[in-house]
Each structure stands twice: as structure tokens, then as C-alpha cells.
């Protein structure tokens, strides 16, 4: 790329470093038990050590963020391990937590994910009332009875699959119905407005 022409022209401006940064952004690194070690920390987080990271240097992260790439369709594969700051960067990807990491690590990561993707599952619909552009829901969930309100529009109730629904309330709190065909006829009737 003719880099040489530029060397010495401007010492403060390090094009090489900049290109390295760009390259880093485009890189993909897969993590597994062989190259990464996850551990629980005192504050309830998970730390990560990569003994031989880029250029053979050891990397250590106090806390990592565990993010699903396909939270709805493939929750156990392509888990992105990221840094925790606001502009979080990817440290690496675990291709399949069922295969690539030990049972303990898997448990640790799943705990983290269950908190991040915490979504009460609706088990019973007591009532849904539509009033003035809003729908008032009275339901029983796996987390206890809940009452919440959604806007009457298509983005409040989303079909993830033919039978699976995700509901977001006014604040964006999520609720899930894994299979609406399992609901009773009476409940379905209340829900019919959104199907």
C-alpha cells in the first residue's frame, strides 16, 4: 500500500497503528476451553483470562458481558463475550456453549445470560382490556402475577415464530408466550386481537 512513502513524514500520525485498529475491528476470534478461562468473581461477575491472546500476550478482563447473537433462534450458539464499557468491544465468540466449554463454564455463562435475557413467561391470561389506544393486561407469569399496559400497535406484540409471541410494555419490559396454541380457548379469545 505504499506505506513507505509516508514513514517519517509525520511522526505523530501513526497510520500503521490506525490500520491495526481497523483490522482489529474486522477480526473474529473464537473462544473455547483451550484458549480462554472464565471465572466467577466476588461481585457476582465473570472474569476472563486469555493466556495467549493477540501477539502471544496474556489478556485479562475483570468483568465480561455475555451476549447472545441469536437470542431467540439460537440462544446457545455464537455467544459474544464483550467488554463492559458503554462502547463495548468484542473479546471473542463462543461458537457453541454446549460443545466448546466445560460444564462449569457453561453454567457460569448461562447464569449471566439468564439475568441479561430475563423475560417472564406468561402462563395464564386473566384479562386483556383495550382502552383508548392501550391494552391492559392482567396475567400470571413464571415470576408471579403481573399487570402491565402496552400500546395498541403492531410492535408491542411481535411473533417470533408461528406460535411464539413477545410482548413489550410501555417501558419496554418484555414478556413471552412460548406457544400460544397451548392457551385455553378463553385465553385465546382475549389474545385474538393481537394474533
Amino acid at each position: 500500500m505504499g506505506l513507505k512513502n509516508f514513514e517519517g513524514a509525520d511522526e505523530e500520525f501513526n497510520l500503521e497503528q490506525m490500520e491495526a485498529e481497523t483490522e482489529e475491528m474486522l477480526r473474529m476470534r473464537f473462544l473455547s476451553d483451550t484458549n480462554a478461562k472464565f471465572e466467577r468473581t466476588a461481585g457476582g461477575f465473570v472474569s476472563l483470562d486469555i493466556p495467549e491472546g493477540e501477539d502471544g500476550k496474556a489478556e485479562h478482563y475483570d468483568r465480561v458481558r455475555v451476549v447472545r447473537s441469536f437470542p431467540f433462534t439460537a440462544p446457545n450458539t455464537y455467544i459474544s463475550i464483550r467488554t463492559t464499557e458503554e462502547k463495548s468491544k468484542e473479546i471473542g465468540i463462543i461458537r457453541d456453549i454446549a460443545k466448546d466449554v466445560s460444564k462449569e463454564t457453561r453454567k457460569m455463562l448461562e447464569e449471566q445470560m439468564s439475568l441479561r435475557y430475563f423475560t417472564p413467561v406468561i402462563t395464564k391470561i386473566n384479562d386483556i382490556k383495550e382502552e383508548y389506544g392501550h391494552a391492559y393486561w392482567d396475567v400470571v407469569t413464571t415470576e408471579g402475577p403481573c399487570k402491565f399496559v402496552i400500546y395498541m400497535n403492531s410492535s408491542s406484540v411481535v411473533s417470533l415464530t408461528d406460535v411464539r409471541l413477545m410482548i413489550s410494555d410501555l417501558d419496554g419490559n418484555r414478556f413471552e408466550i412460548p406457544d400460544y396454541t397451548q392457551l385455553s380457548a378463553g385465553e385465546l379469545k382475549k389474545l385474538d386481537l393481537f394474533l
Binding site: D10, E12, E131, Y132, G133, G144
Partner: protein
């Protein structure tokens, strides 16, 4: 829920503020007194994300959290459902406490999850105060209580920066507001409408209000309906009793009543036929008249309703249009006005007429023969019941078909607008499959409608036919066996039975119509009633001449509450100067511009123009002095000249041409066959990106604003066009306060000040030279653009 041994106080729990009673004693035991407490906020989860009541108490050097298991069957309330009384104060909750030292806090942040977040506290490292030390999770909240977590985060941040926590910081945030009637939290705190309490009666009355100007016409219509009903009652009587009994039966009384003797029988018959023809004719005429009236009133009422809705929409803040709920609302509102006026003009009078008809027919039938009347009317409750039971389900299926069709239509729309992509990737086949899936849904919904509809009509007509059959049977029995009456009355009766079905049908359907109309009206009034968030103050300040000095002080703003896009922005542009804003995409550049043009108000801090807070400034002063040229160029339907003169309708032709010349648009406009009269906009001639850009610059030139905002004005055009546009812009910015956002730094060469925005904060500020000397972000960007591009021989 009413478990024994529990005292439930009706005292409302405040979201923030002094210590809640239920944990007061426990906190005292922990050495916390009211005076120590900065704030106490509510939480709604424990650290495992289980829904639990809870608090975070912040004192000078610690955070204390309290959570307790929910009572058995305790309902968890979210926004919109919560009332002041839903949070149960129970004496026997087992509170669990946790304490966190914040005397050495380095930073706090909120780790966001899909529907909430964790408040995380990072301590200073003992050895190296610059480095992060141990971290702890303090509390978890759902989005419902997110403001609690952000408040603690903000206060801790202040502590970490070594700032004092003053009363202002501790002050309660705006508390969620509750409906005064039912006590329920407003679903949208910016629009104080309680959906539950919206008075149905008042909706009805307000809708009637739209009909008032047409009182006269509506009376005529009503009379038409009445006449139709009356003639409907007369017709079977003429057809049956009068024809068969009086005339064909040569009823002496009747004939002498008409003062003709029996010999001129044919005349009478002709007379009767004539009357019958006249009756039918009148019925037709009345029908036509009523149709004309309807046609005259409905469109006008619809028009005025739509105007109101559209007018209200215009007043609404930009936020309303971008907020999640509007999309479908708008289109629905347009058809809603149809539905509402249709109901009031067609449905309501017809309802009254039908009630009248049914009663009148029943009376006539009973006077003719009560046994037959009983037989005929016996089926009325049955048909009514059948309709009542079945129609809602039918409507339900209609609704589903409607939704399926709508989704199919939007799929088609989606597909057509993406035709280029579909073709480019050769995905026509899979698109057909996707279409087929939606189409299948429509088909099955359609089938469901048909099935039910058939069942419905079959049952319905069975009931109706049975009624007339019974009338004939009983009638025949009465005539033949009992010889109680004659054929004429039977014919009359059969006529009435046939006519009863119409009103019956209507009645069963009317109630459903009424509900759906009220729903439509509700949606409409929701828009009309919506209170704009950005409103002009009552005694707003108007400035005749402005200097154009813009200042932002401690501005914090986020499109969604609790998610700040801009944090603590301070900057100033002197009148007539140019400010350049640089930063990567998503950094918050456009947001700054949105605040300056007051499309939004900042959540904290102030934006001032010549020292006057924008909130106090009249719209006329503000909008009249600010013009924007942005990357999105919007062309209205109309001629080129109209588009240029958009902000100054009375501009002369000379002025328009002058503006176009300055925007280097004159040449290409004159090359078009219709010149300045070329129709552009959605249905008109297609303009290229550069052409549109130049027209919008001409628009800004003609508006002659004191403050000019250029938001990536040249980002969408090629380099050559950019050069031309740049020249026009250089003409344009003379003597104005200019705020320019650009990716290409070369565009900002002439800026008096530059600010670099990064992650919602001002990273650097200064002149071009100062920033270059600083060798920071700006320098890096500049080098990247000049050298790295030069390297590849691009510039």
C-alpha cells in the same frame, strides 16, 4: 390476597423522598437517620431478577438496599397499571438488607439487560486510584424502576467527581403522575389522558357536536326516515287488508266512505292501484332524498373531523411522530373519521326509526289479530338472540380477515419498494414464497368468514322462514277451521313478518357498531386531545431583531428518558460566527441541532438564543430565524418555485430566481422543460440528490434566517456537485450564525469554532489550529482524511 395477620396501610408510597415507614425502624438500627439520607428510591427486583419490592437508600458514604419476598399472590404492577395504592405496605415483610461503601467509589454504571438493568458500583483500586478496583452489583431494576437506578448512578457519579450533593441534586424527579379519577398512573406521562377514565358519554357528545352545523339537513333526513318507516307500515296494509278485504271484498262501509257506489268498482280498483303505485314511488323518492342528504352531510363531517385531527397532528411535537405508537394510529385515524360520521349519520337515526317501526308494526299486528301477532312476534326474541350471540364472532372473523389483508398489503408495499434489492439478489422466488405465506393467511381468514357467515345466514333465515311459515299455518288454521278471519289479513300479516326481519337484523348489529364507533372516536380524540410536549409559553418573548448568539449550558438530553444521548454539553456560538460539529455517527451531532431548533427540549440545562431560554421564546421568533439544510431533503408536492418559496410564501419571482442563482440551482431549473413551474414532489419529476439539495439551499437562502443549520448538507452528493454547493453555502453563511455538521472536515475549514462530540460529550473544542496543535481526536480524524486518503490517491 387477604392473608391474616397483616396490616395494610393505605398510605401511598412515594417513589422517592424520605424513608418509607416499612423499613424505617430497620434503618435506624443500622445507624441511618433521616438527616443522613440523600435519597431513597424504589426498586422492583432482587439480584436474581425475581420481582420483589425494594429500596435503595443513599447516605453520605453508603448505599443500603432492602428487598423482601413478595407476599403470596402479590401482583407486580408495571407502568400504566400502577396506582398510588398498589404497592402494599405490609408490616410483616422480611426485609433483607445489603450495604455498599461509596466513600471510595470510582464510577457507577448501569448494565442494561433486555428489560431492565443492574446498578454496578466500581470502587477505586487501593494501590492505584486511577485504576478500577473491585466491582459490586448493587441492585436490579426493571425498566419500570429504571429512573431509580439512573438517579443513584447520577448522584454517585457526582460523589466520584468530588462534587457536593446539593438539594437540587437530591430533589425528587418529576414524579409519575396519576389519574385523579381512578388513581392509575398515566400510561404516557407527557400526555395526561387516562384511557380508563376517558368518558364515553363525553365522546358521544363531542361527536354529536360535529353534526350541529347541519341541523336542518339532519332534520330533513330524519323526516325521510320517518316517512319511509310509516310507508313501510302502510304498504302491507294496502296490499293485504285494503286490496283483498275492502276492495275485492266489496266492503260497503269502505266504499261509502270513499263515496262511490258498488257499481263503479273498477274505478276503485284503479284508484287503489294508483295509490299503491304512488306509495311505492314516494318511498323511492324519500329514499333518494335521504341518500342525497347523507351524501351532502357525511363528506363534510368527515372533512371537518379530519381537519381537526390533522391540525392537532401539526401542533404535536416531533417526538409524537417518532414515538412507537403513531405508525398505525395515523392511518387508522383517517378511516376512523369515516366510521364515526357514518355511524352518527346512518346508524343513529336508523336505529331510532327501527325502534319506532318495530313498535308500530307490533301495535298494528296486535290490532289486526292478536293470536297471529303472538305467533309472528314469538320468533323475534329468538332471532334477536341468535344475532346477538353470533354476530360478535362474525365480526371477530371479519377483524381477522381485515388484519390479514392489511399485513398482506404492507408486504406487497414492502416488496415493491425494495424491488431493486430483490432483483439485485435474485430473490424473486423466495419473495413469492413469503408472499404466499401471507396470502395463505388471508385465504384461511377469508374461509373462516365465509363459513361463519353461511352458518349465520342459514340459521338466521331458518328462524325467519319458520316465523312466516308458522304465521301461514296458524293463519290457515284460523281461516279454514275456525273461520275467524279472512285471507286479506293473512296477506297483510305475512307482509309485516317479512318487514320485521330488517329492523331485527339491524338492531343486533347496531350495538356492535356503536362500540366500534366509540372506539374510533376515542382514537380520534386521543390525537386531538394530545398535549404537545414542546409548546409555546403563554407570554412567550418575541424578539424583533436578533443577534444570533446561541449558548448551551449543562445540557443533558436523551430521546428516551434515562438514556442520555448528550451529557453536560456546554458551548457558545457568537452571533454571525460559524460553529462546526465533528464526531463519529451516533455521537449526538444531529441531536444538538434538534435542540437548537427546539424540536426537543433538553431534560437538564438550558439552550438560549441571545440570552433568552428557547422555552421562553415565541415560535415566531425561533422558527422565523432558524433554517435548516439537512441531508434529508424534502420536496413538497408542487412546483419548483413553490418549493423554493416554502418558508416565504409571498416571495416575488425575482427573489426566487435570485435565491436559485445563489444556490447554483438556476441553471438546472431552466434546463427542465417547465422551468420553475415544473411539478416536483412525490408524484412529479424525479430530481437527483444534488438537485434536491440545491433547491433546499435556495429555500434556506430565501428564508433569510439569522441562524442557519447545515446538517451534513453535502453528504449525499458527488464531489463535483459538492464543490458547487459548497460555494453556494459560503454565500449563504455570510452574516449568519451557522452551525454545520460534516463528515468531510474540509467543509468546516472556515468555522470559527469546532467542537468534537464523542459519546454525547464534548471531547474537544477550539479553532482548527488549536485542535490540530492539540493532537487529539480532531487531529487524528483530519490526518486520516487527508493523508490516508491521499495515500490511496483519492484526494
Amino acid at each position: 390476597m387477604g392473608k391474616k395477620n397483616r396490616k395494610i396501610s393505605e398510605e401511598p408510597t412515594k417513589a422517592t423522598g424520605k424513608l418509607p415507614k416499612e423499613i424505617e425502624v430497620d434503618l435506624r438500627d443500622r445507624g441511618v437517620s433521616e438527616a443522613d439520607v440523600y435519597v431513597c428510591v424504589r426498586t422492583d427486583m432482587d439480584l436474581t431478577c425475581a420481582f420483589t419490592p425494594g429500596y435503595i437508600v443513599m447516605t453520605k458514604n453508603r448505599l443500603i438496599t432492602a428487598t423482601a419476598d413478595p407476599l403470596s399472590g402479590e401482583v407486580h404492577y408495571f407502568k400504566g397499571m400502577e396506582t398510588r395504592k398498589t404497592r402494599k405496605i405490609a408490616a410483616d415483610r422480611e426485609w433483607r438488607f445489603a450495604e455498599f461503601d461509596i466513600s471510595d467509589v470510582k464510577k457507577t454504571y448501569i448494565e442494561r439487560t433486555v428489560s431492565g438493568g443492574f446498578l454496578i458500583l466500581v470502587h477505586k483500586d487501593k494501590d492505584d486510584p486511577e485504576a478500577d478496583g473491585a466491582a459490586e452489583t448493587v441492585a436490579a431494576v426493571s425498566n419500570h424502576c429504571m429512573s431509580s437506578a439512573t438517579k443513584i448512578e447520577r448522584l454517585c457519579e457526582k460523589l466520584a467527581e468530588g462534587k457536593e450533593i446539593d438539594d437540587e441534586a437530591m430533589e425528587d424527579d418529576e414524579e409519575e403522575e396519576y389519574c385523579p379519577v381512578c388513581g392509575m398512573m398515566y400510561p404516557d406521562s407527557d400526555r395526561k389522558i387516562c384511557p380508563k377514565c376517558m368518558n364515553k358519554k363525553s365522546i358521544f357528545r363531542r361527536t354529536i357536536g360535529y353534526l350541529k352545523p347541519y341541523k336542518g339537513r339532519i332534520t330533513v333526513m330524519f323526516l325521510c326516515y320517518l316517512a319511509t318507516a310509516a310507508l313501510n307500515i302502510v304498504w302491507p296494509y294496502l296490499n293485504g287488508v285494503v286490496l283483498y278485504k275492502k276492495v275485492l271484498g266489496r266492503d260497503e262501509n269502505f266504499l261509502s266512505f270513499l263515496s262511490v257506489d258498488g257499481n263503479r268498482y273498477v274505478t276503485i280498483l284503479l284508484l287503489l292501484v294508483l295509490t299503491m303505485v304512488m306509495t311505492k314511488l314516494t318511498m323511492q323518492l324519500v329514499g333518494i332524498l335521504q341518500g342525497v342528504m347523507t351524501a351532502k352531510i357525511v363528506p363534510r363531517v368527515v372533512k371537518s373531523m379530519r381537519n381537526d385531527v390533522f391540525g392537532a397532528m401539526g401542533k404535536l411535537s416531533i417526538n409524537f411522530f417518532t414515538s412507537k405508537q403513531t405508525g398505525s394510529l395515523m392511518t387508522r385515524v383517517m378511516s376512523d373519521s369515516d366510521e364515526v360520521s357514518g355511524f352518527f349519520i346512518d346508524g343513529l337515526p336508523y336505529f331510532l326509526i327501527n325502534v319506532f317501526s318495530i313498535i308500530a308494526m307490533a301495535v298494528v299486528m296486535f290490532t289486526l289479530s292478536w293470536p297471529l301477532a303472538v305467533v309472528a312476534l314469538m320468533f323475534m326474541p329468538i332471532t334477536f338472540f341468535v344475532s346477538w350471540k353470533m354476530l360478535p364472532r362474525l365480526w371477530h372473523r371479519y377483524g381477522r380477515r381485515h388484519r390479514a389483508t392489511r399485513s398482506l398489503n404492507s408486504k406487497i408495499h414492502d416488496n415493491l419498494s425494495g424491488a431493486r434489492v430483490v432483483k439485485a439478489f435474485g430473490q424473486e422466488g423466495s419473495e413469492v414464497k413469503r408472499f404466499d405465506k401471507s396470502n395463505e393467511k388471508v385465504r384461511s381468514a377469508d374461509l373462516a368468514v365465509m363459513n361463519y357467515d353461511n352458518k349465520f345466514s342459514a340459521l338466521y333465515s331458518a328462524a325467519e322462514n319458520l316465523a312466516s311459515l308458522m304465521v301461514y299455518i296458524v293463519g290457515a288454521y284460523l281461516i279454514l277451521i275456525q273461520k275467524r278471519f279472512d285471507y286479506a289479513i293473512l296477506i297483510t300479516f305475512a307482509g309485516y313478518v317479512g318487514q320485521l326481519t330488517g329492523p331485527m337484523d339491524f338492531m343486533s348489529f347496531f350495538f356492535r357498531w356503536f362500540t366500534s364507533c366509540m372506539n374510533s372516536a376515542q382514537r380520534m380524540f386521543e390525537i386531538i386531545d394530545a398535549v404537545p410536549e414542546i409548546a409555546e409559553k403563554e407570554n412567550a418573548v418575541s424578539l424583533d431583531t436578533i443577534n444570533g448568539t446561541i449558548e448551551m449550558k449543562d445540557v443533558t438530553f436523551g430521546y428516551e428518558k434515562n438514556k442520555p444521548v448528550l451529557k453536560n454539553i456546554n458551548m457558545k456560538v457568537e452571533g454571525g460566527h460559524m460553529l462546526g460539529i465533528v464526531g463519529r455517527s451516533g455521537a449526538g451531532k444531529t441531536t444538538i441541532v434538534n435542540l437548537i431548533s427546539r424540536l426537543y427540549d433538553p431534560q437538564e440545562g438550558t439552550v438560549t438564543l441571545d440570552g433568552v431560554n428557547l422555552k421562553d421564546l415565541s415560535f415566531k421568533t425561533l422558527r422565523g430565524n432558524v433554517a435548516m439544510v439537512s441531508q434529508e431533503t424534502y420536496m413538497f408536492m408542487g412546483t419548483v418555485a413553490e418549493n423554493i418559496a416554502y418558508a416565504k410564501k409571498d416571495a416575488s419571482r425575482a427573489e426566487i430566481i435570485r435565491a436559485a442563482v445563489l444556490a447554483s440551482a438556476h441553471d438546472f431549473i431552466c434546463r427542465m422543460p417547465d422551468g420553475y413551474d415544473t411539478i416536483i414532489g412525490s408524484s412529479g419529476r424525479e430530481l437527483s440528490g444534488g438537485e434536491r439539495q440545491r433547491i433546499s439551499i435556495a429555500r434556506a437562502i430565501l428564508a433569510n434566517p439569522k441562524i442557519l443549520i447545515l446538517d451534513e448538507a453535502t453528504a449525499a452528493v458527488d464531489t463535483e456537485t459538492e464543490q458547487a454547493i459548497q460555494q453556494s453555502i459560503n454565500m449563504l453563511i455570510k452574516g449568519r450564525t451557522t452551525i454545520s455538521i460534516a463528515h468531510r472536515l474540509s467543509t468546516l475549514r472556515d468555522a470559527d469554532t469546532l467542537i468534537v462530540i464523542d459519546e454525547g460529550k464534548i471531547a474537544e473544542q477550539g479553532t482548527h489550529e488549536e485542535l490540530i496543535a492539540k493532537k487529539g481526536v480532531y487531529y487524528k480524524l483530519k490526518e486520516l482524511q487527508t493523508k490516508a486518503l491521499a495515500l490511496k490517491g483519492i484526494e
